[in-house]
């Protein structure tokens, strides 16, 4: 039975240590995605990506234009330069990692690939 998560298989054991047939442990089994579920997941990823974009834009503005209001320099270079460039870069990397680890799901992309002549 699909329970919408990674854990699908429940193991019932009956024996000396579990005379009533108790559930002793749950084995994680790879979820089988239907095409419909995969596409729904792709929609989720797209939406999350747009949110991530907005966040990076905000960081870009704050770390560049925002910091340019302060007259501070490092290595003879105004800090807005580092903020606007390196700061944005780091924000994008964080966005990519969060999207990749938290939002993106793994599943088999293949099913029966239709021949172009079908």
């Amino acid at each position: 039975m699909q329970v919408g998560g990674a854990y699908n298989m429940r193991v019932i054991v009956r024996g000396a240590c579990a005379p009533e047939g108790e559930e002793l442990f749950v084995l994680p089994e790879k979820k089988q995605w239907t095409y419909r579920e995969k596409m729904a997941q792709a929609n989720r990823e797209a939406k999350a990506t747009v949110v991530a974009l907005v966040i990076v834009v905000v960081v870009w503005i704050a770390a560049g234009f925002g910091l340019s209001a302060f007259d501070v320099e490092v290595f003879g270079t105004p800090i807005w330069v580092f903020g606007g460039t390196l700061g944005t870069w780091i924000a994008a990397i964080v966005a990519a990692v969060v999207l990749g680890r938290r939002v993106f799901a793994d599943f088999d992309l293949n099913e029966e690939e239709r021949d172009a002549n079908n």
């Binding site: 929609n43 990076v56 234009f65 460039t85 994008a92 990397i93 799901a105 992309l109 293949n110």
Partner: protein, 505 residues
């Protein structure tokens, strides 16, 4: 004029030989792979790209000679504002993979699609739309390829002293051959080599500039003395907020719709590769784009004269910098970077143009008439077309047009205008239909090109704003009209299409 030196020539020659070797190896690999037929192998590499190659081919295809010559050249003049603007490109990978990545992979496998136009045709069921898309692709790609050849050859001439034509011939012939021979897979792996070469080139040039300029802080001092506005984001008025805004649109946000990038989302092998490419690629593209554009700013600490003394064009800055800060053999290594950027873009656009002609135009019509085309004929024709388009572009590049950066941006904006809402509508909005898509692609692109050629701007903003807005309006209004005119026959065909594109509905 730079005196010719074999030392300047050798690194590029070695690099090109390596690329040819890789393309041949890729061809052997694809022969061995076998299954799937010629078209699927030649145009989408049998969907086998792993994370590293996926990231590198996306970056290398996107990063062109203007990223290495025009962009930094502009930064020499404008300052850190240009680097701040270039930094928006760090979003391009996660945007592409996040928005297009999964859906394109799923839908293209379901349809057996090997080109972006295949997907568009299946979604909107319009040959007119597919033909328009193919025409736009071939025209804009041709313009971009010429610009890449020109940029690479000019740089080559300025640095090595060998003539423009010699440089053009050397890497022009090489890229046409390895693209024809290697197909999509060959292009992808040579792109990975090119990406590495681009990074190496940046590091070498960075060393040259920092040493010649006396170190970072010394260079900052020189800049502060001569052009203090280069240390401000608005650069004394030459980088207004409106320019930042339009550049965000042009080289940041709407790049996800570029067909040469989207097609890569149809060619990777599994979800893990996508994730790896997204994270690794974001790291690499940031290093590359921020790094190379910063070199432009730093070169102001070495090239302290005014623009006229450097030939009057910012395109001359990086070549001059390479020549003045590096000994000939290291200069030869440094130019491998921009040359690699140029040919990696050309190879990707060339194979995509060829796929549009062969698969989206010719093969589709053969299928329509019930003609079976054998793999052998496919193989021969595909390679002839790839070679043919390459030769035409090469010939056009022999007599070069004037400004590279503008041509590149013209094609960029045109492609984004043409494909953005068509692709977004195709994958994410059920209500988008054939009428809207045709209106969006044709109307939007026509208006964009008209405005570009007339120099017409709204509020002084780059024409991308006009193009994207018009094509969106056309999509919305056109789809509304189309829905009102829809009938029962449409509904039946629609149901089949929805199974593929909107199964969750």
């Amino acid at each position: 004029m730079q005196t010719t030196s074999i030392a300047g020539l050798l690194p590029v020659l070695i690099f090109l030989v390596l690329a040819l070797g890789l393309a041949i190896a890729a061809r052997r690999r694809s022969r061995a792979a076998g299954e799937g037929g010629f078209v699927k192998e030649y145009f989408i590499g049998n969907r086998t790209l792993g994370g590293f190659v996926l990231a590198m081919t996306t970056i290398a295809t996107y990063g062109s000679v203007s990223s290495f010559v025009g962009g930094p050249g502009q930064a020499w003049q404008t300052g850190f504002g240009w680097v701040y603007m270039a930094a928006v490109q760090v979003t391009t990978l996660f945007l592409l993979y996040g928005i297009m990545g999964k859906k394109m992979a799923l839908v293209s496998r379901k349809l057996g699609a090997v080109t972006v136009i295949d997907v568009i045709r299946a979604r909107f069921r319009s040959n007119a739309l597919a033909n328009a898309a193919a025409l736009i692709i071939v025209l804009f790609f041709a313009a971009t390829m010429v610009a890449q050849f020109v940029g690479g050859a000019k740089l080559f001439e300025a640095v090595t002293g060998y003539s423009y034509f010699v440089g053009l011939a050397i890497f022009g012939v090489a890229v046409i051959i390895f693209t024809t021979v290697g197909g999509f897979r060959g292009v992808a792996v040579t792109d990975a080599l090119c990406g590495i070469a681009m990074l190496v080139g940046i590091v070498v040039l960075a060393a040259g500039i920092l040493i010649a300029g006396g170190g970072w802080e010394n260079i900052m001092g020189t800049i502060r003395t001569n052009h203090p506005q280069m240390l401000e984001p608005l650069s004394g008025g030459t980088m207004p907020v409106s320019l930042y805004f339009t550049q965000w649109l042009l080289v940041g946000i709407f790049t996800f719709a570029l067909p040469q990038s989207v097609v890569r989302c149809m060619g990777y092998k599994d979800t893990k590769s996508l994730r790896g490419a997204m994270i690794g690629g974001t790291i690499i593209i940031g290093a590359m784009m921020i790094g190379v554009t910063t070199l432009g700013v730093l070169s102001a600490g070495v090239l302290t004269g005014d623009l006229a003394s450097y030939g009057g064009s910012v395109d001359n800055i990086i070549p001059r910098t390479i020549v003045e800060t590096l000994p000939p053999w290291l200069a030869g290594v440094a130019i491998v970077g921009p040359v690699a950027a140029s040919i990696s873009t050309v190879s990707s656009l060339l194979i995509a143009s060829s796929s549009a002609i062969i698969k989206d135009l010719w093969l589709h019509y053969a299928d329509d008439r019930g003609q079976q085309v054998s793999d052998a004929v496919m193989a021969r024709s595909s390679q002839i077309i790839t070679l043919g388009v390459g030769v035409i572009v090469f010939v056009l590049a022999v007599v070069p047009p004037s400004v590279i950066w503008k041509i590149n941006m013209f094609a960029f904006g045109g492609l984004e205008t043409a494909f953005c809402w068509v692709l977004v509508g195709a994958l994410f909005f059920k209500r988008a239909n054939k009428v809207g898509a045709i209106a969006s692609m044709v109307g939007g692109t026509a208006v964009y090109c008209l405005c570009m050629s007339l120099g017409f701007k709204l509020f002084g903003l780059h024409q991308i704003v006009i193009g994207i807005t018009v094509s969106l309006l056309c999509m919305v209004i056109g789809s509304w009209v189309g829905n009102r005119r829809a009938n029962a026959a449409d509904a039946a065909a629609d149901a089949e299409m929805r199974e593929v594109f909107f199964p969750e509905a």
